[in-house]
């Protein structure tokens, strides 16, 4: 078997590959530049590795360590002293800067009750403890956290009056700490809302969502809940997806890049296939859906969070062309079964005795066999031929049993028509189909057709037509030979019809028939067989040519 150069070079041994690698430049300068840049990038990353950094630290640390330790100690001591002084000093103003007091509790001297009202619904609770002069206490403001408020909810606390001074001091310390926290809180909150404003879902919320959306798993939310990723971990954007599509050569590459940006997709839905949703807009109203099985990527937008609803709009971003498998029998569902022309002829022989049960063996399955309505069977060895059988009433007798040829638009009832007529029709149709399907073997002028007909008569031989064959046509003397008939000097071909001359080789004599016909065989004229075998040699062709009143269909 001959081998191809590409195949040989591709499957060469290491030695040859090395020779090629050694002798020929593999790619252009741009590619080389790209590889070089990538390499430098990688080298730079490795240059920042901790190895070098650690070495420097070790080198310098013996010198600086004692000084740093001393400095740290001094700083801690100073801080502690300053803190103590500050704690002892009288507070110039009570802490009232932060108006986050949403519930109050009052401490009363002697045996008063401290109640945290609405504690379970507030962020923070400030306790305003007021004391009278005669008990020697002073006014302080304290803030407690929500948790504390919750605990104190519905609990009666009795505070003796003579212990309030100490309590106030402790309360003061608490106030300072809390004040810092309280003032810091709004700043943090505002920062957070400025960046993501994202609130992760609870397990109950996830489960509720999943129960509402059939066959969907919230992969990203579950990963956040399990601590695998942070709530603000990046999502892939539509622009990124489009960029990946533009710069990648296949689906796998695109999908790999998407997964690199967002390893945990938002939702995996679908049944039978994976419909992976990336919520590029942060919600289910704007998503990119990836289906790895069908290798396509869609952008879906909707206004109500229902990507399968009426408001959903689909835009295909990427679809990989796949090899389409031609089904074994695309029309099987339309047909109950299939048979051959020989089967049809066998059935036709039964004539009136043909029953619906005779078709059972040709059905695809037991379910395909119907005792009511009609059944269509494909005739497999012909193009566009089929058989229709329909039962008559309650008996097994057939009401209809027709063979139809969709190519030639013929039909014949095989029950009521004589077997020989059925056979003749089927042969005629088959011949027409064969002629229509045959390739043109050559061209011949109408003058030559007339001449050969006149010279040879019924002894016309395929060899007489050999000068008109295309050089590429190879005949084994059993093929149909179809010639395109063209204008001669004397006879011009009809402009309305494409005219062919077809020779059908036969046994016993050189040709069974030779007919002039148009493209769809609706017009035919036999130039070989006599009209009346017992009379003078006159063919259909002679007849139409002799007619003065009517112009033959094939002549201009």
């Amino acid at each position: 078997m001959k081998k191809n150069i590409s195949d040989i070079l591709r499957s060469s041994g290491d030695k040859t590959i090395e020779k090629i690698a050694d002798s020929y430049t593999a790619a252009d300068k741009k590619t080389a530049q790209r590889i070089y840049s990538k390499s430098l990038e990688k080298m730079n990353i490795s240059a920042d590795d901790s190895e070098v950094f650690t070495a420097e630290q070790v080198k310098h640390s013996p010198v600086w360590r004692p000084a740093l330790i001393v400095a740290a100690c001094i700083f801690v001591i100073c801080g502690a002293v300053f803190g103590l002084l500050k704690m002892k000093a009288p507070s110039p103003k009570p802490f009232v800067d932060e108006p986050v007091i949403v519930a109050t509790a009052t401490t009363v001297t002697n045996t008063e009750t401290v109640t945290a009202e609405n504690a379970d619904t507030t962020e923070t609770t400030a306790v305003n403890a007021e004391k009278t002069d005669d008990t020697g206490t002073r006014k302080v403001d304290t803030a407690t956290t929500r948790a504390t408020a919750k605990q104190s909810d519905n609990v009666k606390t009795t505070v003796p009056a003579n212990t309030n001074t100490t309590k106030a001091a402790t309360g003061m310390r608490t106030t300072k700490t809390t004040a810092k926290t309280t003032t810091a809180k709004p700043a943090t909150a505002s920062k957070t809302s400025g960046t993501t404003a994202y609130k992760s879902m609870t397990l109950a919320e996830i489960e509720e969502w999943e129960s509402k959306h059939w066959a969907c798993v919230m992969t990203r939310e579950r990963a956040i809940l399990e601590g695998k990723i942070s709530a603000d971990s990046p999502r892939v954007t539509l622009a990124q997806v489009k960029q990946f599509i533009a710069e990648s050569s296949n689906f796998d590459e695109i999908y790999r890049k998407i997964r690199t940006v967002q390893p945990y997709y938002d939702v995996n839905g679908g049944s039978g296939v994976n419909l992976i949703e990336y919520w590029v807009g942060g919600s289910r109203n704007d998503i990119v859906m990836v289906c790895p099985e069908s290798m396509n990527i869609k952008h879906i937008t909707c206004s109500d969070g229902d990507i399968y609803g009426d408001t959903a709009r689909y835009y295909e971003l990427y679809s990989e062309k796949q090899v389409t498998k031609i089904p074994d029998n695309p029309v099987k569902s339309k047909y109950a079964g299939e048979l051959t022309v020989n089967d049809v002829l066998k059935l036709a022989k039964k004539g009136q005795d043909l029953r619906i049960t005779d078709f059972r063996e040709f059905c695809y399955s037991a379910d395909s066999f119907k005792t009511s309505g009609n059944m269509r069977f494909i005739i497999t060895d012909r193009d566009e031929w089929y058989l229709v059988a329909e039962k008559s009433g309650n008996s097994d007798i057939l009401a209809i049993c027709n063979v139809a040829d969709n190519t030639g638009n013929h039909s014949i009832d095989i029950i009521r028509t004589n077997y020989n007529d059925v056979l003749k029709s089927i042969n005629d149709w088959s011949l027409s189909e064969g002629i229509m399907a045959a390739h043109t073997a050559g061209t011949i002028t109408l003058d030559d057709v007339v001449r050969l007909h006149n010279e040879k008569g019924e002894y016309l031989d395929p060899a007489d037509f050999s000068p008109y064959l295309y050089r590429t046509f190879i005949s084994d003397n059993s093929d149909i030979m179809k010639f395109r008939v063209i204008n001669g000097d004397n006879y011009k071909v009809s402009k309305e019809n494409v005219v062919y001359l077809t020779l059908i080789p036969g046994y016993g004599r050189p040709l069974i028939t030779a007919i002039l016909h148009n493209a769809n065989m609706s017009l035919t004229t036999d130039i070989l067989n006599t009209i009346d075998p017992n009379g003078d040699y006159k063919t259909e062709f002679d007849l139409v040519m002799a007619l003065d009143c009517e112009k033959p269909w094939f002549l201009e």
Binding site: I5, S12, E18, I20, A21, A26, S39, L40, M43, R256
Partner: protein
Amino acid sequence: MNDNEIKAKLQHSAEEGFKALFNEYWSYCYTIVFNVLRGCGSQSDIEDCTSDVLCDTAMNYNSMHEGSLKAYIGTSAKRRAIDVKRSISSHTSKNIPLEDDISSSLPSADNVEADTENAELSEILLARISSLGEPDASIIIHKFFYEHNSSETAKILGMNPITVRSRLRRALKKLKTLLADLDIEM
């Protein structure tokens, strides 16, 4: 630049050394990687793998080693490319046929004869292609090995695409005569 000079540069300065190494061996490394990853990896995969091999060589190659730098790059390119091929295949859930996977390391006893014959044939073919002279040999290699079209080949060889096409036609005619005794079709 020879291996010793490159090694010396690598010892002296990583960047200078790498530049010298890259200029000398990028095409060699690229070809070996390309041959393994063709039909499996993308252009980007091939480039990444090539840069990995070259970086790795620049950073990890022991400059004091006496061996050939070319052989080191060749072997590490082939191994790295096979790793990448495996990785891509596992990512894309396309399995590499077992025989394909191990073919690089374990020659099958059944195919030794065929492999040897093929290797010999490819060597003869390459020799005859080389005998065409430049740039015809390069044009043929780019067409049949790298599967580049005329414009790509022209870009690489610094020629006009039309010239590449006409030279290719003439080179193929010549090659046909040269390969007349071999059972090879164009």
